[in-house]
């Protein structure tokens, strides 16, 4: 509810991009020459790079990896991993999909986390999916893949959510933490939330988690995540934290655009059992 102006801007920019697509062939923009060529050759690239990076320097960099499945089984739940662990000093990791009605998917600020996030997103059609890592020197390192949305024909259709009573379950959180051999900790978490886009034909208003804070001992910031409407229903994330051995709990705090606040506390085991 707090976002309508933002929405509007997004929609207008998308419409103008449609116009741009048709014009591109005959009227290339003068600024095109200054920009590195998009390896995914997307007609949206020029406009999106301006929107996300402004005039900051950009490099296409294989060190930023985006992992998607080879086929899209369920367009409502496409597993995506953005991984910039091969870079040092990453301040921000953003994920966007060029041809989604809402392009920006999420932003990770990996304060005491590795620049890595795995999650699920909605896609409307085949689209480039990009991750861009901002390093301390002010450079955006961009990686991406082309996601082919034509799925398995036997796939379970994405059924419209029945008018389930979300008030019963919204914000319920499940999570588990694993200590890794390198001293980091892997967290998998799932927060029940409809993540309504506000674009559905039934006029359901946008209702989605906007921020997720991950905190360690004494409220120390481990990671901050800004989410947008394309993140799938019941956001399910994998993060990698640099967690001191002394940390007993990791605190989660999710906030949605209706003012909903959902707090939870994930026990951090001293050492992961190596059983099995």
């Amino acid at each position: 509810m707090q976002r309508p102006p933002h929405f509007l801007i997004k929609h207008i920019s998308r419409l103008s991009l449609f116009a741009l697509v048709t014009m591109m062939a005959c009227a290339p923009s003068p600024s095109q020459a200054e920009m590195p060529k998009d390896p995914l050759d997307s007609t949206m690239w020029e406009d999106l790079s301006k929107r996300f990076f402004g005039t900051a320097p950009i490099v296409f960099d294989d060190k930023v990896r985006v992992v998607v499945p080879s086929l899209v089984e369920n367009q409502a739940q496409v597993p995506v991993t953005a991984d910039a662990r091969a870079l040092r000093d990453v301040k921000k990791l953003i994920v966007f999909a060029d041809l989604n009605p809402i392009t920006h998917v999420l932003t990770l600020s990996p304060r005491k986390a590795k620049p890595y996030i795995s999650f699920r997103m909605k896609v409307e059609q085949a689209t480039p999916v990009r991750a861009a890592a901002l390093t301390g020197d002010g450079v955006w390192h961009v990686g991406g893949v082309f996601l082919d949305a034509a799925g398995g024909g036997c796939s379970a259709p994405a059924m419209a959510r029945k008018m389930a009573d979300w008030s019963e379950t919204v914000g319920q959180t499940q999570a588990k933490l694993w200590r890794e051999l390198d001293g980091s900790a892997r967290v998998r978490l799932k927060v029940r939330h409809p993540m309504d886009t506000g674009l559905a034909t039934d006029n359901t208003p946008a209702y989605f988690i906007e921020t997720l804070k991950v905190r360690g001992s004494e409220g120390k910031a481990l990671a901050d995540i800004e989410m947008f409407e394309p993140v799938s229903e019941d956001p399910t994330l994998t993060l990698m934290l640099r967690l001191p051995a002394s940390t007993i709990n990791v605190e989660l705090e999710a906030r949605d655009n209706n003012g909903g606040l959902f707090q939870s506390s994930v026990p951090a085991p001293w050492r992961q059992s190596q059983a099995q």
């Binding site: 998308r14 419409l15 449609f18 997307s42 007609t43 499945p69 080879s70 086929l71 089984e73 369920n74 367009q75 409502a76 739940q77 597993p79 991993t81 041809l99 989604n100 009605p101 809402i102 795995s118 909605k122 409307e124 059609q125 085949a126 689209t127 082309f146 034509a150 398995g152 024909g153 036997c154 796939s155 379970a156 259709p157 994405a158 059924m159 419209a160 959510r161 319920q172 959180t173 499940q174 999570a175 588990k176 694993w178 892997r186 998998r188 978490l189 799932k190 886009t197 674009l199 559905a200 034909t201 039934d202 994998t238 989660l252 707090q263 939870s264 506390s265 994930v266 026990p267 099995q276």
Partner: protein, 354 residues
């Protein structure tokens, strides 16, 4: 309702769709209108992603299926499906279809992926048997097995109640998915529900008596058929051979029980839903081995804290290299099985848990 309209409704999409329907709607029948809606959907995605998606040519010559029946034994033919995923190349003709010659007429098991396939199948069955169609059985509700229904009368089509219910709920979604993956092969295809609900029992076709056995596991309702005269056992998609099983609606534990039951039926020839018909039980064993293997790999990946993308990259056993679409179906199965593992296996951590 479109496949993804509940998720996103891009600005201007509605207007575009309506304009397109105006342009191409020439008849007023609902089937035609529904078709143009799907065409419009497909067209819409081509406009938006012009650089990436091949164009959908409305004026192209109609595609034709060439059905090549294999004689299994006296009066029984199998039209083998391609051991492939559904694509614009194969038109979705990936599942096995069976034709019986009986003294009461032709009996058909499964109708293929589209109206055009069903029409070719009906003609083939009449040509092979010299008789009209006496009965059509559907083994389950998956789209590669049921969308040829339009070529037959609804009252001729028999399936367990669970199959009919599944089609009522998922049929439209399956149709949209088929239009997206098989493309123009689907032209004119609409969902037709079976008119006759059956249970475990026997149907008498004069010289042949065909037993129906209702099971589940591949889906919530799987029909197995057994011809007493020939000893031919039709396993539907409970059995796959040399092609990786699909799991979008599977209950793995149930499926394994059904496989054990299937293996207990004495038979001369076993026809899997996908793959060659053979004597013996290789399809049953291979399907069971596959389900055990992927269930273990996926469960272990979850327990180690892997994400879905990481789980999809896990190695498969060496023996699966001989199985068509092993990696493809394994990845799909991760998508199908992971959410339940997460729902059941991640502890609740809400601060204010009662």
């Amino acid at each position: 309702m479109g496949f993804f309209s509940p998720l996103f409704q891009p600005p201007g999409a509605k207007a575009k769709r309506n304009r397109f329907i105006e342009l191409v709607t020439t008849k007023n029948d609902p089937g035609h209108a529904a078709l143009t809606r799907r065409k419009a959907l497909a067209l819409m995605s081509t406009t938006a992603a012009a650089a990436f998606v091949p164009a959908f040519d409305l004026d192209a010559a109609p595609l034709q299926y060439t059905l090549k029946p294999q004689r299994l034994t006296d009066g029984i033919w199998m039209i083998p499906g391609a051991q492939e995923a559904i694509s614009q190349g194969n038109g979705g003709a990936i599942a096995n279809v069976i034709i019986f010659d009986t003294s009461a007429g032709a009996v058909i098991v499964d109708t293929g992926p589209s109206r055009r396939y069903g029409e070719a199948l009906a003609k083939l069955a009449r040509d092979l048997t010299g008789k009209n169609i006496a009965r059509v059985y559907l083994t389950h509700f998956h789209p590669d097995h049921v969308f040829g229904n339009q070529a037959f009368g609804a009252d001729q089509i028999a399936a367990p109640k669970g199959v009919i219910d599944g089609l009522k709920v998922m049929g439209e979604g399956f149709a949209d998915a088929m239009y997206r993956t098989a493309g123009d092969w689907m032209r004119g295809t609409e969902l037709v529900l079976p008119g006759k609900a059956i249970e475990t029992g026997v149907e008498d076709f004069g010289n042949r008596r065909i037993r129906s056995l209702t099971m589940r596991g591949h889906t919530s309702s799987d029909l197995v058929l057994f011809d007493e005269l020939s000893g031919v056992l039709i396993g539907g998609d409970l059995a796959f051979l040399d092609r990786a099983p699909t799991t979008p609606n599977a209950d793995i534990e149930r499926w394994r029980i059904s496989l054990a039951n299937l293996g207990g039926i004495p038979h001369r020839l076993l026809v899997p839903g996908h793959g060659p018909a053979e004597d013996g039980t290789r399809a049953i064993q291979q399907t069971r081995d596959w389900l055990v293997a992927i269930n273990e790999i996926i469960s272990k990946a979850f327990e180690r804290g892997l994400s879905m993308n990481e789980a999809m990259a896990e190695p498969l056993p060496k023996w699966t290299e001989k199985i068509a679409l092993a990696r493809y179906e394994y990845e799909r199965s991760v998508t199908h099985l992971f959410p339940k593992l997460e729902a059941d296996g991640l502890p609740r951590v809400d601060v204010e848990t009662p």
